[in-house]
Symmetry: C2
Subunit: 555 residues, 2 copies
């Protein structure tokens, strides 16, 4: 009787057949799955037995020799492409890496990165420069890992930088006028969202450029590097430019998801003015509507409605709202509800959400709802990539009563607003528009950049306004005063971008699906069990003592 087995390597699989050879058949029988084999044989057609569901299903290998190069354990903890818990798959990452999904993701990543380099080096004259990761702490710096220094610097520490921001600016001052780096960055933010403690960004900086110059370059870079196998989801150039204020007005967020067809609508004609109570004197009072067309195709179940309510109520400001569906008409007692149906041309499977109260909360609420409802109702386009730029952000914002940089203190203001920097009134400062630009794809910020302040005195003033400790930034201020060209740049979140590509447009795919050896949310490497305790020798060398938390969690 013939015996069959499947041979697999990094590029595919094929059926092998051992005909009447008792010795080889018995060797095969005692060889565990996932063992590494060498097969010598003849490729033959399978004729009528061909397998149409298999890429190589037309052929098979008639085995003449079979050698077990390395035997796998009889009881494998998991098999590639088979079901296993997330924990098991992370612990045995080297087995999971054999799965079709991870093989494809890592190879796609390699291809994309290589294409980026070719574009930057060969077509655009950029210089690939490595910058240090053992650096000094930057102001604020709470999110930076530290590396204790050995003697003779014991007692001091390096920091692992969150980005090469300072170095790229210093390179501009140093006459490397077109710099890029696929840069490893570090961020100690605990288990905040889908983030890894180390991540990678495509880091770009150029001298003698403009905001438009950088955006065009990055757009061309992305499109030029787009993998051929994903041509069907390649966005068109130019990516639309949306001012920050417009993004907030129409989508309630600064990173709108353009796969959702709806916009927040202004309510002209004062149709909802009746909602304004006597005591709503605030000039910030507003009523806005979001018409979720087609969102109630199968009616709006109570559970869905409750979920919407829950989401709306998440906003701390406690917005007022009404969920209006044409089939149930008794939304408001004080006006003729048909007027609303007519005004917004509501069909039976549409839902209108009206929200009123403090302006900021109204937009936030409808913006969140817009994404949620489209997703829940399956109305967000699948396998689509919509890319656009959000521009004209305010240079400063208020955060917990504190004036802060909306992005970072190195962003230059628009030329026309530069004089406002010296105003004492914080309100005037908030009116300054920065030369910052975000690349937003499918509702996720994929990267951002800005034209930087190149004048040392202006930079010093901005740091002062922000109350940043000057001595920490002295080297940058010095550099700007020693012949710094105008410059600007961009950083693209590579992990996130590759996750988007490999999922054909899902920006929420976990980044660990495109990282060879990721860590858990809690910063653990389950494979090697890092981090670990230190040896006495290490503690001694760095002069450190480590005080544990009372109850470290396992993973």
């Amino acid at each position: 009787m013939d015996r069959f087995f499947v041979l697999r390597d990094a590029y595919g699989s094929v059926q092998a057949k051992i005909a009447n050879n008792a010795k080889l058949q018995s060797l095969l029988k005692e060889t565990p799955y996932e063992s590494v084999l060498r097969v010598d044989g003849i490729v033959v057609g399978r004729g009528e037995n061909r397998n149409k569901d298999m890429k190589t299903g037309e052929i098979e290998i008639e085995v003449e020799e079979l050698t077990v190069l390395n035997r796998a354990a009889a009881n494998m903890p998991m098999l590639p492409d088979a079901k296993a818990s997330e924990k098991t798959r992370l612990k045995y990452r080297y087995i999971d890496l054999r799965s079709e999904k991870l093989q494809r993701a890592l190879r796609l990543r390699s291809e994309f990165v290589h294409n980026i380099r070719k574009f930057l080096v060969e077509k655009s004259g950029f210089v690939d420069v490595e910058t240090p990761t053992l650096f000094r702490r930057t102001p604020g710096g709470a999110a930076e890992f530290v590396v204790p220094a050995p003697p003779p610097n014991r007692g001091l520490a390096y920091s692992l930088p969150q980005s090469p921001q300072q170095f790229k600016q210093l390179l501009m001052v140093g006459g490397i006028d077109r710099y890029f780096q696929i840069a490893r960055c570090y961020r100690d933010e605990g288990s905040k969202g889908d983030r890894q403690p180390e991540f990678t960004q495509v880091d770009v900086e150029m001298s003698f450029t403009t905001q438009e110059g950088v955006m065009q370059l990055i757009e061309h870079m992305i499109l030029s590097a787009w993998p051929e196998s994903l041509a069907h989801i390649k966005p068109k150039s130019p990516f639309p430019r949306i001012p920050y204020s417009e993004a907030m007005r129409l989508y309630g967020v600064d990173k709108p998801d353009m796969r959702v067809p709806w916009q927040i609508e202004d309510v002209q004609g004062n149709i909802f003015d009746f909602l304004k109570k006597e005591d709503d004197k605030s000039e910030n009072w507003q009523a806005r509507v979001l018409v979720c067309r087609g969102a109630a195709g199968n009616g709006l179940s109570n559970s869905t409605r409750n979920e919407w309510k829950r989401l709306i109520q998440m906003n701390e400001n406690g917005q007022n709202f009404a969920i209006c569906q044409p089939l149930k008409k008794n939304w408001f007692k004080s006006i003729d509800n048909q007027k609303i149906i007519d005004k917004f041309d509501l069909k039976k499977d549409d839902v209108l959400v009206v929200c009123w109260g403090e302006s900021e909360g109204v937009y936030w609420t409808l913006g969140q709802l817009r994404n949620y409802v489209a997703e829940a109702a399956g109305l967000r386009s699948k396998n689509t990539v919509t890319a656009h730029w959000v521009v004209d952000f305010p240079l400063f914002s208020f955060e917990e009563g504190q004036l802060v940089s909306t992005h970072h203190p190195f962003t230059a203001p628009l030329q026309k607003d530069a004089h406002l920097l010296y105003e004492k009134d914080p309100k005037k400062l908030l009116q300054i528009t920065g030369q910052h630009y975000d690349l937003v794809i499918n509702g996720v910020e994929m990267g951002g950049g800005s034209i930087r302040i190149e004048n040392s005195e202006t930079q010093r003033h901005v740091l002062e306004v922000l109350g940043e400790p000057m001595e920490e930034m002295q080297h940058l201020l010095n550099a700007l005063s020693h012949g710094a060209p105008p410059h600007g740049g961009f950083a693209l979140g590579l992990d996130r971008f590759v996750a988007l590509l490999s999922s054909e447009g899902d920006p929420l795919t976990p980044v660990r699906d495109v990282i060879a050896f990721p860590k858990t949310k809690n910063g653990k490497d389950l494979m090697s069990d890092a981090p670990t305790t230190l040896s006495e020798k290490q503690l001694e060398r760095y002069g450190i003592t480590l005080q544990p938390t009372s109850n470290p969690t396992p993973s």
Copy 2:
């Protein structure tokens, strides 16, 4: 009167002329050197005034408009390409980066790295995979920087790995059968030689290969990536293969410098047997000679002779030696010295050094002398790159009475020696040849690699023989038992290699000359003054206290 100035950018410089324009001339006069200018004007020929020493000396720009984009400080701490102390140049690295030398080095580095990637990705099917730098400590691990973990893992620490060795092997197990990475690595070795705490290696690993397969790939990679501007110093393929034992026998070192034309010579015919004293019964007694042809062209001064002696006496074993020059013939009383002259065909500008005693010391002494004398006498070829492979290293060595891996514990033995691994007698273990190969260029080890042990039980046994703590390596042992293909790889020291290229063959060029922002020997960044003290907030977050050394040195 016309006024002239030189405009410079990243690509060159050109003369600019301000004709009779008092306003522009006075603006120029008050603008400090190294300021950033915008010039509008007309390119004209300089006619008779052309400057043949300047690349653009045929032309100049007649300035019509001059705008100061960013004024430099009037008192610059240094100027590019001008003399300044090493300390000043590191502190103002962004100014030094404008120098012709550093501009060229960084651009050459970028070109070389890009060429490597093109070869590996486009011609050889390699996948560029990023591996983590926050990892667990490895056995020994004394040379690894540590990164204290934040809550919930406070009290534990990551380590910054010295190379992606474990990860590249795990990738082979994971079916990424051809991996490469231009990898940032970390090494805490204090101020040992010309080394940086962070450095970069071209890291390569492949499955289903052989020693010869890897060496050929790397050789092709290097030659394919060789910068066009350095074609005149490009070595020929194939690089010669030299067994370790032959390297020791002919050159006294395992990284011979082939730019030196001399070899250590065996003394046949027992001509020097008279040197063996009655009590030299040791079977390791040897006499060897090095004929330094042409080394005494101008006679051998006393000071040179003394320097040779000093060098020879540096060997702890205290070798016996004689420096023999034909012009002075009374070297040995017990034999006719003319015999020596005849035997080695000594001409008047040759020097023969004979060294006798314990074998190891004799080779070491002559090996050191070989390099020193050739360099001092100017007889080492300049602007030459000689590349070769050293192979057949012993798998194990003795170090301070301890059996250690000659390279690392993952190196596989030659197939024919594998059975010796299970011998109890250490002498037998020392006879095992490992599948390790070093790439040696101009006397410096530029990189090394090996075929790895792919069998989990063999790997466990080797770790046991070496007394390594098994629990630290459990993940690798597991991986090898879950279907690991035969594999091997290589790592090229990128900084050192680019230093060799940029100096046209000088392997001793400091690596900081090809690194954008290097640290001093003491691990300081003089520009930003890293490492620094930590904030209370940081100490608290990581639960650490740092104990300084009694007297930290400044730089």
